[in-house]
Symmetry: C2
Subunit: 211 residues, 2 copies
């Protein structure tokens, strides 16, 4: 580190105080540790103490941030949904018709989960499985965003009105399940999986009962 031209930071320091910083750092550390532990031991076997041990913090500290293992898991799901939402919104904004949106959204989702899996090295031993994402705020928001986008693009296509709740649920279920199966195959083929899911839905929608 050069000792010329070294300016100690002007103390107009915009950063939040140290209290605030360690708080977010701890929260994040717990989240990261939880990801690892869930991945290694599986959700059921994991304990709060396994998680907190990995952070070097004291056991009591955990409870300053989360009420339970379940809440950490929900926070993890929320985090995933929060990071996925902009991608979904981008697809929604660039598409006007149903097909374009559907293909974009599903491909975006498949790429997202494929990257997540790689990033965390979540080579879950087969048979073991994490619980499904619960209805956290962000997860619900994703659901709602899909439904609203569906409503918009279907109206644009002059499609007859259908049961939007059923349709949204079915599409998300397909994406989840095909996405899961896709990750079990080598090589992971997001394009192929997306093609399958899109064609299934696209073919089915015109045949749906009308309200």
């Amino acid at each position: 580190m050069s000792n010329i031209a070294y300016f100690p930071k002007p103390h107009i320091d915009q950063r939040p105080g140290k209290r605030e910083r360690t708080k977010t750092a701890n929260r994040q550390a717990i989240l990261d540790a939880a990801r690892e532990v869930f991945g290694e031991l599986g959700y059921d076997a994991a304990t709060v103490r396994d998680i907190i041990r990995r952070t070097g913090l004291a056991s009591g500290t955990f409870y300053n941030y989360y009420k339970s293992k379940e809440e950490v898991f929900d926070a993890l799901a929320d985090d995933g949904a929060r990071r996925f939402r902009p991608l979904l919104r981008a697809e929604s904004e660039k598409a006007t018709d149903f097909e374009t949106f559907l293909r974009g959204a599903i491909l975006a989702y498949f790429n997202f989960v494929a990257e997540e899996q790689e990033a965390w090295r979540l080579d879950r031993p087969p048979g073991e499985q994490l619980p499904h994402a619960r209805s956290t705020p962000e997860v619900v928001a994703v659901f709602d965003e899909v439904r609203e986008a569906f409503a918009r693009v279907l109206a644009h296509d002059n499609a007859p009105p259908v049961d939007l709740d059923y349709l949204t649920s079915a599409c998300i279920a397909i994406a989840r399940e095909i996405g899961d199966k896709m990750l079990d195959r080598r090589p992971v083929d997001t394009q192929g999986a997306a093609d399958f899911a899109v064609k299934l839905i696209l073919g089915g929608v015109p045949a749906l009962p009308r309200l």
Copy 2:
């Protein structure tokens, strides 16, 4: 009880011995208690002792039958799948074409879950949710049976070959999800839900990418 014409049971008694009978009775009692407890407290909150307490048996006895809460849950899922399988098989045997089988199977499933829900009075507080059925033998068998039936009726329809694993997964995912949503609506409309699911799939299958 009349004291004339009372014959002590002829001891050609075909019934299995008492040991065997109490064994199956205990196993069943634990299963029933678990259903209740999971329904009332939710899966996460339920403890092995909550379950065993309701049977009047001692805590140690539980472990003569199941290794853990998880295993009881799996046994419950297995039980459900075992009772559903004959219904599924009946649909498979009476149908030769895809549409007939699909409609019959999905309607059978929706009626099945609707009856189960009523039978157990599983008015689950919304938000709380049971974990998804794991890959128990019977559950896997149901999956396989659906796939084989699909293969048979699709061949009969001279349909082009498609990715059967993806298709089966997608259909089961749709049935599960729509079935769930259906149960949240009043009145529960199995016909309407089945109509939706069937039309979605039926319209989609011809559009699927071919292998």
